[in-house]
């Protein structure tokens, strides 16, 4: 099992303030309530006591406070996520601030990096520089990203990083290929959104074949669905996805992504009240469909830029909103699917890493159980860079080391012994004791991508090549035969 790092969480908000946000969310859900474009959800809320009024193309639903509070009580605190390799499974406990990092988004653009030599006009010196090319993501890129993440030590779970936009990918074969590309290249837990709800059973069946019939008790896949369009509007298709996933008892992250300054209030309190109201709507619906549906509190709030309303992940407010989201999830004792590590920069390297490290640190420190978006994302979440994912892996390793539990009681005696021993040597260096820890995974002996000029990215590229040449254990041939017979998996990824 991937244990994650148990942290002593940073609490930006007091308990009383969390209660005020909770009450504010309940008050919003009653008045003005939510707008729904999904008939089945509307009916479910109505049957359970919500007031519904029809407005032609949509319904307005006023949800009573007690319905929300009662339903949320049924959401389990502990969500178990399986994996092809059992050692990669995760037990997310909403009561315990144990931090794990994974990938995320469905980036449209892949950033290819090449290396070219340039000669200085001034000095005539030849140097190697990275050059970049942007292109649309394909199913093979998704395979490669999953393969890479399989070998990145700090990736605890895999959410499809790339939007597969091949010409022969259609609404009917996208889900099966998206999940197959991921599952066949990583033995970690796989999570994704659904393109076509009619393919949900195909995807579940495929995962059950691969897992040897482990099913929803130890699911090797889970889902994300963003049921609300901010502010407070239930979208027809994603809401239907949630209803169908809940009926099947599969874990689902109910994600909401209000944008401070455009689709949500800019100031923290109003933003958190709305974010929480949107997530509570999805959580309530999931529990009304099927009691004890395993859900994650999907907190993806962010602030927008004021010059063009693009997402601004590097804004300090984005981190404040996200810390609040983590605390609200803990308030309800539900595991938090949180957000960190997206750079606003379009290219990998220093600017992107500084941008990312700020949110990696704060969100991990706040104790989120399931931090997505953490690897390789640039330009908001529009671009995936494998080289940046390599750097992020090391940087997240640093964050994990930084936040690991202290062991003062266990170490103090040894520390005093070491000092006494070293003081009796001529060189007075703590080498012998240090040496033992060098080979423990929790220490990095030095920053592996350091160097002059462009060496960081050139080294990251070399590392990528190394990792991609290391194999991933294939899905057994007999399982593959069944999958290929039953589902439309593209030949080039078989």
């Amino acid at each position: 099992m991937r244990e994650g790092v148990l942290v002593k969480p940073y609490e930006r908000l007091e308990r009383e303030q969390l209660e005020r946000i909770h009450n504010a969310s309940l008050s919003i859900l009653r008045d003005p309530g939510i707008v729904s474009y999904n008939r089945e959800a509307t009916d479910i809320f109505k049957e359970n006591g919500a007031e519904v009024s029809s407005h032609g193309s949509y319904w307005r639903i006023s949800i009573p406070e007690e319905l929300v509070e009662e339903s949320v009580k049924h959401a389990p605190s502990v969500v178990k996520l399986g994996a092809r390799e059992k050692e990669n499974s995760l037990i997310l406990d909403g009561k315990e601030p144990r931090v794990r990092f994974g990938t995320g988004s469905e980036a449209n653009v892949i950033l290819d990096m090449d290396v070219e030599d340039f000669v200085s006009e001034k000095t005539g010196i030849r140097s190697s520089f990275p050059v970049f090319k942007r292109r649309r993501g394909t199913v093979q890129d998704l395979c490669q990203a999953a393969h890479l993440c399989e070998h990145l030590q700090n990736v605890d779970f895999f959410i499809r990083t790339v939007n597969i936009q091949d010409e022969d990918i259609t609404e009917n074969n996208k889900d099966v290929n998206k999940f197959y590309a991921s599952l066949s290249n990583t033995k970690k837990h796989v999570m994704a959104g659904l393109t076509n709800v009619e393919k949900l059973d195909d995807v579940i069946r495929m995962a059950e074949i691969i897992s040897g019939g482990r099913g929803s008790n130890e699911p090797i896949i889970s889902f994300i669905t963003c049921v609300t369009k901010s502010p407070l509007q239930l979208v027809d298709d994603t809401t239907q996805n949630l209803i169908e996933i809940a009926k099947r008892g599969y874990p689902v992250s109910i994600s909401a992504s209000p944008q401070g300054g455009s689709t949500a209030p800019l100031q923290e309190a109003g933003m958190l009240a709305q974010l929480n109201a949107e997530i509570l709507t999805g959580m309530t619906l999931a529990q009304l469909v099927r009691k004890h549906t395993p859900v994650l509190y999907g907190s993806v709030p962010l602030r927008v830029r004021m010059d063009n309303l693009d997402n601004m992940y590097g804004a300090p407010e984005t981190n404040q909103y996200n810390i609040g989201g983590v605390q609200m999830a803990r308030f309800y004792k539900i595991p938090c699917y949180s957000t960190a590590g997206i750079a606003d920069s379009k290219f990998p390297g220093i600017e992107a890493s500084v941008n990312k490290q700020l949110s990696h640190l704060f969100i991990a420190l706040s104790g989120a159980q399931y931090i997505h978006y953490a690897f390789g994302l640039l330009e908001g979440s529009n671009t995936f860079s494998p080289e940046q994912a390599i750097l992020d892996d090391v940087h997240i390793g640093i964050i994990k080391s930084l936040l690991r539990e202290q062991k003062i009681e266990a170490e103090i005696g040894q520390g005093v012994k070491e000092i006494r021993e070293v003081m009796s040597t001529s060189h007075k260096m703590f080498t012998r004791s240090t040496r033992k820890y060098l080979r423990a995974d929790e220490f990095i002996p030095f920053y592996p991508f350091g160097g002059d000029g462009n060496e960081t990215l050139l080294k990251a590229r070399m590392r990528k090549e190394e990792l991609l040449s290391a194999p991933v254990e294939e899905i057994p041939a007999d399982m593959k035969d069944v999958i290929f017979q039953e589902f439309d998996v593209l030949d080039r990824i078989k």
Binding site: S426, H427, K428, M429, R432, T434, R435, K436, L438, P445
Partner: protein
Amino acid sequence: MKIIEETMEHIQENVIKGRRNKEDEDFEGGSVGELGVEELVGEALEGGLKPKEIIECINEAMDVVGTRYESGEFFIPDMMASAEAVSAGMKVLEPHLASTGESMDKFVIATVEGDLHDIGKNIVALFLKGGGFDVIDLGVNVPAETIVKTVKEEDAKLVGLSALLTTTMQRMGEVVEKMRIHGVDAKVLVGGAAVSAEYAEQIGAIYCKDAFEAVKVAKGG
């Protein structure tokens, strides 16, 4: 003969593992209770091996340590543990070398006047001891006169000077100059953060980038 060969192999193995004696741990904290370099050198002598042969065997193991460091497999603490293990073995060997009329080359080492930094100097000293040199360590903040006087009195043919600061680095030139004035003929090795190969050449010394290179240069490599 077979027993001797096995002992030699064990010595090399333990030099690489950095184990001085049976109380020491290896890389992962194991091997406690097994014989270390100190005890194994004693066994080798009892078995009739000559000190010079033991030193050769140790040197071969230190070459392996150096190669592993260069390749990134070993880190500084590993090298220092190995050098400590060798140094412990050399202490056992010293009286035997003296009794057979063999002697170790003397090496005077110091951090120059005005400078109190000694981590690098201490590492080099440890490596030199491990490399079979009789190291006379004068410590830190040592005036040029003291260094020259010691080199003369000890009749040392090798001197190592260390400086971290660009300001104190200038003292190295002073030492070389004073040695020339007093007619002291010794090879001067310099190193430290501020020092460069260009500077060393300018003052008539030899630049060593790390402890391994210092040992190599001291041995005439």
